[in-house]
Symmetry: C2
DNA sequence: AATTGGTTTGTTGCATGCATGAAATGCTAG
DNA sequence: CTAGCATTTCATGCATGCAACAAACCAATT
């Protein structure tokens, strides 16, 4: 809903309006908005209104630091796991990503990248990690969609190679290497995404 | 409230009862309980009741893995920071912890350990990290568990030494070492805490 | 024209009533 | 005495009304 960017940041989310739209009373709407407030997606100003929150540039930076830590942990845990059912899925993902890059299919590639990272975190077999990760990614989602498509074509090929290296480290049961490679990969991607988000931000505010 | 263990796991938290206790209507109580449900502290079974949730042994293990990752990240970020105002506070904390260990003051030491870790995470200067960390620690009810590991004789002195090593790594601006030492420290403490939690669990269920 | 004051409007915060459904309870039959 | 069924109890889920308050608006005055 909000994470897809369907509503613009700063927009008012009036309880009564949403209640009419979804054809329920204010109460369940209100509870949902409170949840979103706790997730940091909206800001409820008492007796004024509920507004879609726009993450600051600093918060985006902080969230990318967390993302690196989360996914690094996930990669390490995957390498520590005995059998990893998701490994085949990840290998196939890399193969298809390679094809997508060669064909210049940005849409397909964006989808595959998202699938790769969420499969990897899910495969870590740590539900609490997944919960925290999902929470984090919800807050980042809007920026993610925009910046993914704007990544430079040269980066995509490198990204695929890094994905392959991550899989290799996991396959060889090397948790330290898996975490290290993963973190470097996320850091590199994050840097580009942060720059894209910054430019987007400047374009909006002017 | 719940995190302090004032109410036992499995206990029913009736909205009407809480409403009378706090002298408000059900509505704000209800919102608070929904928040706690999202935080994983209580379980709301539709039209049955709201109950204090008891983390499974597996969840405790997962949360300790997350704790290690969070605090490792925090230590690394601290070492990366230029000036660290909290460093003096941390040094003083270690000095007082050393005294507490020598005097066998378990109560004081427990408080100092908690202060050390929260100061360290807060000092990382990453609010999103702090939010996720606080969320995690609420679920762990850490204070309750850690107090039971205090009876371990040799562990306390080792813990203080590890705290000192963490400070040294931060002082020398070595992020990798800071993270590594921190993670080893958390892993060691977590192992003892997990054992304590397991024993408490067995004691309860019998 | 600008400012200040009061009024109006719109929003959330809270209280409360009713509907829904699950679980406990008791009653009856075997 | 036990098993099964109806009933009663009790909890949340949702709808709605009212109060409180912030902000926008408008008019009067300087």
């Amino acid at each position: 809903m909000i994470v897809t960017g369907a509503v613009m940041p700063g927009a008012l989310l009036a309880e009564t309006a949403l209640a009419q739209e979804f054809e329920v009373s204010r109460t369940p709407i209100r509870e949902a908005l409170k949840q979103l407030e706790r997730e940091g997606l909206v800001e409820v100003r008492a007796r004024v209104g509920t507004f879609v929150r726009k993450p600051t540039q600093r918060e985006i930076h902080e969230m990318f630091e967390l993302k690196e830590s989360f996914e690094g942990l996930a990669a390490g845990l995957l390498a520590k796991r005995g059998p990893v059912p998701e490994l085949e899925h990840l290998k196939e993902n890399v193969a298809r990503s390679q094809q997508a890059v060669e064909h210049g299919d940005a849409q397909e590639y964006s989808q595959l990248v998202h699938d790769f990272h969420s499969t990897l975190v899910a495969g870590a077999d740590n539900r609490k990690l997944s919960e925290h990760y999902d929470l984090l990614m919800n807050q980042l989602a809007y920026q993610r969609i925009v910046s993914q498509t704007l990544s430079q074509p040269g980066r995509l090929q490198n990204s695929v190679k890094e994905h392959q290296a991550i899989i290799d480290a996991i396959s060889s049961k090397d948790p330290l290497a898996a975490e290290l490679v993963m973190r470097r990969h996320v850091a590199a991607s994050s840097q580009l995404a942060a720059i894209a988000a910054l430019k987007e931000d400047e374009g909006q505010s002017n």
